[in-house]
């Protein structure tokens, strides 16, 4: 991309929008070039935590030069972030990665799928994507979040593990029960969900773009920590491994092995 920056961002707002799920708007120049599906690296202020946390971009506000980051508290780093109040500062690097290839949806029936903490990047994608039809399937454990934002930008079909909202089961169950057909799929979520979607897309012969996740260190493609297996030899690494932070996080499902 060539336009990534590292700077100290100011927190505009912070709120808990669901159990352990936080929404934080930050003012950063990284918003200028950010695209749906890209992510930022957030650095902890506590120096004992050396590594940045990769956090997906949920919304982009270019006018206010702001990014919305919606994240789940899963450890000490994200717990630290959740305690920041408006006005506090956080170091950020971004935007990182490649984002969703939105041009693949033009004039087509697009199916957008988010699972768990993979739901947030689907919000900005749904806002910006130009498609003939936009269906959005979101899978949750039980409590829904970001559903209002998603409803505004497409037909929304939730799935919950306990059946408390929408279809009881997985995102695949929701696709089948609602008879949603698609020409192209964009998805972000846990690996088991992506694995099931890859299989589903291959069976139905649907083009699918999936956003992957792995433990990262540098975030810019230097350290080779966050690789995924690829079907063909990767051009940069010269082995069957691609860098999720650089060539990804979004890959054509056919090109990666899960």
């Amino acid at each position: 991309m060539g336009e990534k920056i590292k700077e100290t961002a100011v927190i505009i707002s912070q709120e808990e929008i669901s159990e352990d799920i936080y929404s934080m708007w930050i003012k950063t120049k990284a918003s200028k070039t950010a695209k749906p599906g890209q992510f930022v690296a957030l650095y902890c202020n506590d120096g004992s935590r050396m590594l940045p946390r990769p956090i997906s971009i949920c919304e982009i506000d270019k006018e206010k030069e702001a990014l919305r980051l919606v994240y789940r508290v899963v450890g000490k780093g994200t717990d630290e972030f959740s305690k920041y109040h408006a006005g506090a500062e956080v170091d950020v690097m971004g935007p990182l990665g490649n984002g969703f290839p939105m041009e693949r949806a033009e004039g087509k029936k697009a199916l957008l799928i988010g699972g768990g903490i993979g739901v947030p990047p689907i919000v900005e994608l749904a806002k910006q994507l130009k498609a003939e039809e936009k269906n959005i399937v979101a899978g949750y454990r039980n409590l829904l979040f970001l559903e209002e934002e998603l409803k505004k930008n497409g037909s929304f079909y939730p799935a919950t593990e306990d059946g408390s909202a929408g279809v009881k089961g997985t995102v695949i169950d929701a696709i089948k029960e609602n008879n949603i057909d698609a020409d192209v799929i964009f998805a972000c979520g846990p690996t088991p969900m992506l694995r099931a979607l890859k299989e589903y897309a291959e069976e139905k012969n649907i083009e699918a773009w999936i956003s992957m996740e792995e433990k990262m260190a540098c975030g810019i493609g230097a350290c080779l920590a966050c690789v995924c297996k690829t079907k063909e030899k990767d051009e940069h690494t010269n082995v069957n491994n691609a860098r999720i932070c650089k060539e990804g996080p979004v890959f054509n499902a056919e090109e990666v092995e899960l």
Binding site: G2, S48, L51, K215, N241
Partner: protein, 300 residues
């Protein structure tokens, strides 16, 4: 003010370089750091053939550092020579290529291929398991260190840096063995073997079970080892292990290091290397130090 240092006849404009494996071949970091400002760029380890590396997760954060078991994934020497060396030649900095291998022949193969390139120094990573000796790392036995150093020197046209493993009983014994084998420079420390268990999931945090510990958590061990080695051998030393700022770098220099490498701190701040260069200059001004060489091994 003179910040230049000399490593086996190669003059570096300043003592600050990158630690192998944390900086790729510089391309990714060149978006954040002016590579012209660095004494040298030390590349990620390269082998005679491409290595796919270990399964993921390959890293885990620990208090004050991280564990890594990347498995030395690399594209192989041929791609490296066609792509990475020309990239680095665009900059006014010295090029140090880190070399890894599974057998002595693997190392020699790479060293021979690099002999006629515009690479300034070679750093030999002897923390790799020697597959012909039951997987014990070359760097964990004084005899094998001396032997591999001698072999590599037969093929090398550039000065050789032997990178020492800290996972040994007496680091000075290993340093002396490398010196006896003809090493021109020593670098230390490589990572300390560690382990982390994810208590909630009741699993190892990284797929390889063990990984190399790096970051500020290892710095006091590294400073101690640099001091000991500086007092045991006559070749220059590149010190590394948890350097995050100029103060850390100066600690190594005062302990006896001629140059220093920044590793894990590149991950917490991609601009660390350039900041360390500026910080050392600032220190020299504050302490009226005319020549950085006057600081090397000053603390006895």
């Amino acid at each position: 003010m003179n910040t230049s240092v000399n490593l086996a006849g190669v003059t570096l404009k300043n003592p600050v370089m990158t630690a192998s494996g944390t900086f790729g071949s510089g391309a990714e970091y060149s978006e954040f750091v002016d590579l012209n400002k660095l004494g040298a760029v030390v590349t990620k380890g390269v082998a005679n053939v491409p290595w796919p590396g270990n399964p993921t997760p390959r890293i885990a954060e620990v208090y004050g550092g991280m564990l890594n078991a990347i498995g030395l994934q690399n594209p192989g020497i041929d791609v490296f020579m066609n792509r990475d060396i020309p990239f680095l030649k665009q900059y006014d900095t010295k090029i140090i290529v880190n070399v890894c291998g599974k057998t002595t022949e693997d190392y020699c193969d790479v060293v021979e291929k690099l002999a006629d390139t515009e690479v300034d120094l070679l750093e030999i990573n002897i923390s790799c398991p020697n597959v012909k000796e039951g997987g014990i790392a070359f760097g964990q036995n004084a005899k094998s260190i001396e032997a591999i150093t001698k072999e590599v020197k037969k093929y090398a046209k550039q000065p050789i840096i032997m990178k020492l493993s800290p996972n040994v009983t007496d680091i000075t014994e290993m340093a002396k063995a490398a010196e006896a084998g003809g090493a021109d420079v020593l670098s230390l420390i490589n990572t300390l073997t560690g382990m982390k268990i994810d208590v909630e999931r009741q699993k190892f945090a990284i797929a390889n079970k063990t990984g190399g510990l790096s970051g500020p958590a290892v710095k006091p061990v590294a400073v101690r080892m640099v001091y000991q080695v500086a007092n045991a051998v006559n070749v220059p030393i590149i010190g590394m292990g948890g350097i995050c700022n100029a103060e850390d770098a100066l600690e190594f220099i005062l302990a006896g290091a001629t140059a220093v490498s920044v590793g894990t701190a590149n991950f917490s701040n991609p601009c660390t290397t350039a900041e360390v260069v500026a910080g050392i200059e600032d220190y020299m001004r504050r302490h009226n130090v005319e020549d950085i060489k006057d600081l090397i091994g000053l603390v006895k």
